[in-house]
Symmetry: C2
Subunit: 454 residues, 2 copies
C-alpha cells in the first residue's frame, strides 16, 4: 500500500520530479565514503525554491525526513538518508541566475557544479577557484564548507559567500546576506549555513565572489627524503610570504599508486606540488624564490611545468590520488581529514605514518599542507571487518591527536556520520549551543537527521 506522503507528492509535483526507481534509490543511498548505504523512500527533483518550500511542507505534515543531495561526492556519508524519507536532489536547479562580471560576483542555483560554473564565467576572465577535486555541486560545497588545493590562497567555501537563499524547516524563505562585498548589519547567518550539511535548511540560491583568472601560472614539483622534510619545507614557504596558489604534499607511496594508475612517471619520493599564479613578473620572482628556498632545504628533482598541458597533467595526477587507491579489486579505503596549526604538521604526519605502519595496512598520506590539512587514505579488504576497524582506529587516533594539538577532526570533508563522535572533544561546551541552534532551526528534526550530532 502506497504511503500517504508519496501520494501527496504525486499530486503536488510533475510525475518526472519524483521517483522510487531502483537505480535512483540506489544512487541516493550512498556517497563516495565507506559508510553503509541506506535507501530513501523517494527521490525528489525540485525545479524551483517553491518546489522546495512545498516538499518541506510535506515533510512537516507527514513527519518524513528530508536529505538534500548535490552530486553525492561527499566523503562522510552526509547524503545517506539514515532515517530514510525523501532525498532532495538539486541537479535540475543548476542555472546561473545572475552573472555580474562588473562586480565579480555570480548568483547560482545550488545544483550547478563548479566546472559547469567555470565553463560559463571563464570566458569573461573570471573564475571560481575553489577546487575539491570532484566536480561537486556548489550547494554541496557550501553545505560541507569544502575547500581543496586552492584554499591556501582563497580560503574555504565559507569565505566565498555573500548571500544564500535558504528554505527553512518551517517553510520560510530567507536571504542571509546582500550583494555588497562586506557588511556589519544584523546577525551573520551566512557563515552558519556554510558547513551545516543540510541540517538547518535547504539552500536554493548562492551568491559567490569570483576572482580574476591569473595572467600567468607556473607549476612545480620537488621531492624530499622524508614526509617531515616536506612539511617543514611547506612551512618555510608559507613563512616566506610567497603567495602560492597551491601547495600539496604527496607521500612516496601515493606517488607510486598514482604512477601505477595513470603512468605519470613521477619520481617515487615524498613530494611537494606547487602552483604560483598572478602577474607574470611576480610569478617568476615567486617561483625563483621558492626554488632557492627549497634547494637550500635539500630538495631534489625540482621540476617546473609552465605550459598548460604539463600543468594539467600534474594536477590530474594530484586529483586522481584517491581513485588510485580505490580501483583495486576487493579493496576499498577510508579517508582521514585532519587539520592542525602548520607548525604541528611535521609531528602529525609522522604520527600518521607510525599508526599506518603499526596497523600493517597500506595507506597513503597527502593533502593541502599549506592549510595544515592532510588526508590519509587507508586500504582495507572489503571482506574483512577487522581491517576496516583497524583503518577507522587510525583515523580516530589521528583526529584525537589533531584536536589535542589545537586542530580539528575535519579540515574540509565535514562531520556527516564519521566525525560525530569527535564533536564533543573538539567543541566542548559549544556543542550544546550548536545542538540548541539545530533545535531552533529544525525543532522536529526533519532536516538531514542523524548528521553532525550523535
Amino acid at each position: 500500500m502506497e504511503r500517504e506522503f508519496i501520494k501527496i507528492c504525486k499530486q503536488s509535483f510533475n510525475s518526472d520530479q519524483i521517483t522510487s526507481s531502483e537505480n535512483e534509490l540506489y544512487r541516493h543511498s550512498h556517497d563516495e565514503s565507506h559508510h553503509p548505504s541506506v535507501e530513501p523512500d523517494l527521490v525528489f527533483f525540485p525545479e524551483s525554491a517553491d518546489d522546495v518550500v512545498n516538499i518541506v511542507g510535506i515533510s512537516r505534515q507527514f513527519q518524513i525526513p528530508i536529505t538534500p543531495f548535490g552530486t553525492g561526492s561527499g566523503l562522510e556519508g552526509q547524503v545517506i538518508p539514515v532515517k530514510k524519507g525523501i532525498s532532495v536532489n538539486f541537479e535540475r536547479m543548476n542555472q546561473v541566475i545572475k552573472f555580474s562580471p562588473e562586480d565579480m560576483l555570480v548568483t547560482v542555483q545550488p545544483g550547478i557544479t563548479r566546472m559547469g560554473l567555470n565553463s560559463i564565467i571563464n570566458k569573461h576572465g573570471l573564475y571560481f577557484p575553489i577546487d575539491p577535486g570532484a566536480d561537486a555541486s556548489i550547494g554541496g560545497m557550501v553545505a560541507t564548507n569544502a575547500s581543496g588545493t586552492t584554499a591556501v590562497r582563497y580560503g574555504s567555501m565559507r569565505d566565498q559567500l555573500l548571500d544564500l537563499e535558504v528554505v527553512l524547516a518551517n517553510g520560510t524563505v530567507i536571504h542571509t546576506g546582500t550583494k555588497a562585498k562586506k557588511s556589519s548589519s544584523g546577525l551573520h547567518l551566512t557563515g552558519l549555513f556554510a558547513g551545516s550539511e543540510g541540517t538547518l535548511g535547504l539552500i536554493t540560491e548562492i551568491t559567490l565572489k569570483l576572482h580574476g583568472i591569473p595572467e600567468h601560472t607556473i607549476a612545480a614539483t620537488c621531492t624530499f627524503d622524508t614526509p617531515r622534510a616536506c612539511t617543514e619545507a611547506a612551512h618555510a614557504i608559507l613563512l616566506s610570504g610567497i603567495p602560492i596558489l597551491r601547495m600539496e604534499f604527496v607521500d612516496a607511496l601515493s606517488i607510486s599508486f598514482v604512477n601505477a594508475y595513470g603512468s605519470y612517471g613521477l619520481p617515487e619520493k615524498h613530494s611537494l606540488f606547487f602552483e604560483f599564479a598572478g602577474m607574470q613578473k611576480a610569478v617568476e620572482e615567486e617561483s625563483l624564490l621558492a626554488e632557492g628556498l627549497l634547494k637550500d632545504m635539500g630538495c631534489e628533482n625540482w621540476a617546473i611545468a609552465s605550459d598548460s598541458g604539463e600543468r594539467a597533467r600534474l594536477w590530474k595526477a594530484r586529483h586522481e590520488m584517491s581513485y588510485a587507491f580505490r580501483h583495486i579489486k576487493g579493496m576499498t579505503s577510508t579517508g582521514g581529514d585532519v587539520c592542525a596549526p602548520i607548525s604541528k604538521l611535521p609531528h602529525l604526519v609522522d604520527y600518521a605514518r607510525e599508526l599506518i605502519a603499526e596497523s600493517g595496512l597500506t595507506g597513503g598520506i597527502f593533502g593541502h599542507v599549506g592549510d595544515g590539512n592532510f588526508h590519509t587514505i587507508i586500504m582495507y579488504d572489503t571482506s574483512s571487518t577487522d581491517e576496516l576497524a583497524k583503518a577507522e582506529q587510525i583515523n580516530g587516533r589521528l583526529a584525537e591527536r589533531a584536536i589535542e594539538l589545537g586542530g580539528t577532526c575535519t579540515g574540509e570533508h565535514g562531520v556527516g556520520i564519521g566525525k560525530r563522535k569527535y564533536q564533543f572533544a573538539e567543541h566542548g561546551a559549544a556543542l550544546e549551543v550548536m545542538k540548541s541552534m539545530k533545535q531552533l532551526f529544525d525543532p522536529e528534526n526533519l532536516l538531514n537527521p542523524g548528521k553532525i550530532f550523535l
Copy 2:
C-alpha cells in the same frame, strides 16, 4: 540607598574593579557617534574570564543589563547603556595570551588595541592589518565586524578569526573554533559572534590570523574632476586584478577640510589614495600598471610616496578626515556607512552628493571604495534640531538606496542604535530568525539590550 546588585558587586570584586565615579560614568555613557548619551549605573573592569562569568551571574540574578565596552570609538552608539546597568570595560584584559609566529597566529584578550598588538608582533615580521583608523580594541573590532582601509585585500574582522572564547548569558564559557586554519566541524559560531555587538555574549579571548609585513610598499594619489570619475577609476583598478592593499576615495570638500586641519597641502580635488604592497618587483609592476590605467582614464596629479615618512603623512591625512570635520566649534556631524556592489558606487556617490546639496548642509564623502563602501560626514549646528534631522534624513535615504541596489545600510560601523530601523528592509524574513537567535542566546535580554533590534 545603595542598590542590592552594587552591594554584591562590591563584595565580589576588588574595590578598584568597580566604580560609579562621575567621570567614569560619563566616559561610559557615549561613543564617538552623535547618539544621545546614557550613563550606566556602574562600571566594571574585569581582569579575567572568571570575572566576566561572575558579573554575568550578578546581571542574571538582579536582572541588570550589561554592556561591554572596548575603547568607545564606535560610531553607532553600540556602547551606550540605553537601559543603564553595568558597563563592562575590557581595558585591563589587554594581554597577548599566546603568540605563535611560526603559525602566523596570536591569541589575545579583547582589551588589547590594534596598535598595542602590532607593537608586539611587528618585530617578528608579522602584522595585524585591519585598520579602522581609531586605535580600537580587538574585542570591539570583532563585535562590530570592523574593517577599514585594508579590507580590500584582507577582508573584515570576521575573516581574521580562528577562535573566540565567549561567556554566554547563562554563564557558560565556550570556544567557537580551533587553532587550525580551516575547519568543517560542527556549526560555525565564530562568524556569528563577529558583528554581534555584545548582544549574544561577552568575548574574553580572540585568536587572530596574522600576515607577513609586506617587503615593499608604495603609496600614491591622483585626482579626477568628478566623484564619478574617481569611483569609475577605482572600479577599473579592481577589475584589472592589481592586488592593491588600500584604495580610498576622498572628495574635494573633505580634502579641503583636512588641509585646513593639518596643513597637508593636498590638491583640493576629488582624489584616490592607493597603497601597493608585496614583493618589490611585483609592487613596482603594480604601481606602473595602475598609473597607466589611471592616466588613460584622465587622472591628474599622479604622485607617488615611496618613503615611509611621506606614506605615513598621507595615511595620517586620510585617517584624520572625520576629525577634520568635527573640530569646528558649535558644529558636529553624523556619519553614513553604506556599502553596495562596486558597479553601483558611481550612482550612489552621485546620489549622496545630490542629497547633501539639496539639504543645504555641508558634508564630505570618502571611504573604502575598493569594497564599495563609503562614508558621508554631514555637519550640523548642535543647537539646531532641524539640521540634525536633515542630516539624518540624508543618511537614511542613502541607506535605503544602498539596500535597494543590493547593498547594506552598514559596511563596517555596525547597527547599534542608528541602523536598527533599516534591519527589516535589509534582512526581510531573516530578521525574525536573527531575533530568535538573540532570544536563544539571551532569553532575558540582559546583554546590550536595545542594540541591533528595535
